[in-house]
């Protein structure tokens, strides 16, 4: 009976994790809105208490929470790491996408006008032929 209940709990847990994307490889493709929402949800009280003047610009609120990591709640500290990683992963993907996709652009979009918007449109249309790496970079950059 106990074993059964445990299994059931595990399934529920797995479902929760699958639905929310917590701890999965999906974390690095989370959009900015979904990422920052976690911070206001889990750190709202700590922001009010310790970072009442910190701004969203320059990720001031994230930096302030980090400076106060000894005082903030455990949930907020965990979420802060997750959110900071998501935002950094997205920025990194945006910065490296041009380079990662360079060969695909040469191969699939030789006649396309240069400029991120144009080549991106070309790569999105050519998606089935685009390399896995480049497709992943576009997804992680939030450019779909």
């Amino acid at each position: 009976m106990t074993v059964l209940r445990l299994t059931f709990a595990t399934i529920i847990m797995a479902l929760v994790v699958a639905v929310t994307g917590i701890g999965s490889a999906k974390a690095d493709t989370v959009g900015y809105a979904d990422a920052i929402k976690i911070l206001s949800r889990d750190c709202g009280k700590d922001i009010e208490r310790y970072c009442a003047t910190a701004t969203l610009a320059n990720y001031g609120v994230g930096r302030c929470l980090k400076e106060n990591q000894g005082k903030i709640s455990g949930q907020c500290a965990t979420s802060l790491v997750q959110v900071t990683q998501s935002i950094e992963a997205r920025r990194a993907a945006q910065q490296s996408a041009d380079q990662v996709c360079n060969r695909d652009i040469q191969r699939l979009c030789p006649m396309t006008k240069r400029g991120r918007g144009y080549t991106l449109q070309c790569l999105l249309k050519a998606q089935p032929s685009v390399s896995e790496k480049c497709n992943a970079a576009i997804t992680n950059a939030g450019w779909r």
Partner: protein, 190 residues
């Protein structure tokens, strides 16, 4: 507290929403894209700096309340109004509005809006002095732009910000109404 409000008929038409009241809390990335997407024919010329200067003159002209809208051309542009909460009398974005700013960032990073010139326009209601309202609206619009450009990595060249204070009310019949407090996004095209 509502996070989002679509305040323009243009956006309501595109999104198939009948009234602003029905649009409460429905802001999502695709809705922002639809509202700001320009098809070429919808783009009209607008000089944000000239509009800012007109607002400064109007606010300095005295009188308690603004006379009327500064620009009718604004209404012809692809646009969206978003409710963003700030600290009282300050340009600090409140945490409950982080999500809305993040959604705007996500939308601006899509190929549909990539490379478009977007103006962030701050508005207040008519409570309080005109010049103070103008100053606050400028600071708040700049605060949204700063968050988009820094934390959310939107290319700086794509975004400008202006503040019109109470000089371009959403609901001139009710100048003190909360619907006038809004952050408006305008698409000026590529």
């Amino acid at each position: 507290m509502t996070i989002a409000r679509i305040a323009v008929p243009f956006a309501a038409l595109l999104a198939g929403i009948a009234t602003p009241a029905a649009a409460q809390n429905q802001l999502d990335r695709n809705q922002i894209i639809k509202s700001l997407y320009e098809t070429g024919s919808t783009v009209a010329a607008l000089d944000p700096a000239a509009l800012q200067a007109a607002a400064e003159r109007a606010a300095a002209s005295g009188g308690d309340n603004a006379q009327g809208p500064l620009s009718d051309r604004i209404n012809t542009l692809p646009q969206l109004s978003v409710e963003i909460n700030f600290d009282r009398g300050s340009a600090r974005i409140r945490p409950e509005s982080y999500y809305s700013v993040g959604l705007i960032a996500d939308a601006l990073h899509t190929p549909y809006l990539m490379g478009q010139r977007i103006v962030v326009v701050g508005h207040t209601d008519a409570t309080g002095g005109r010049e103070l309202n103008l100053k606050l609206s400028k600071e708040r619009a700049a605060s949204v732009r700063d968050a988009l450009v820094t934390t959310f990595n939107v290319p700086a060249a794509q975004l400008t910000s202006i503040g019109l204070g109470e000089e371009q009310l959403q609901d001139p019949a009710h100048p003190d109404s909360g619907v006038n407090r809004r952050v408006q996004l305008l698409n000026l095209g590529p």
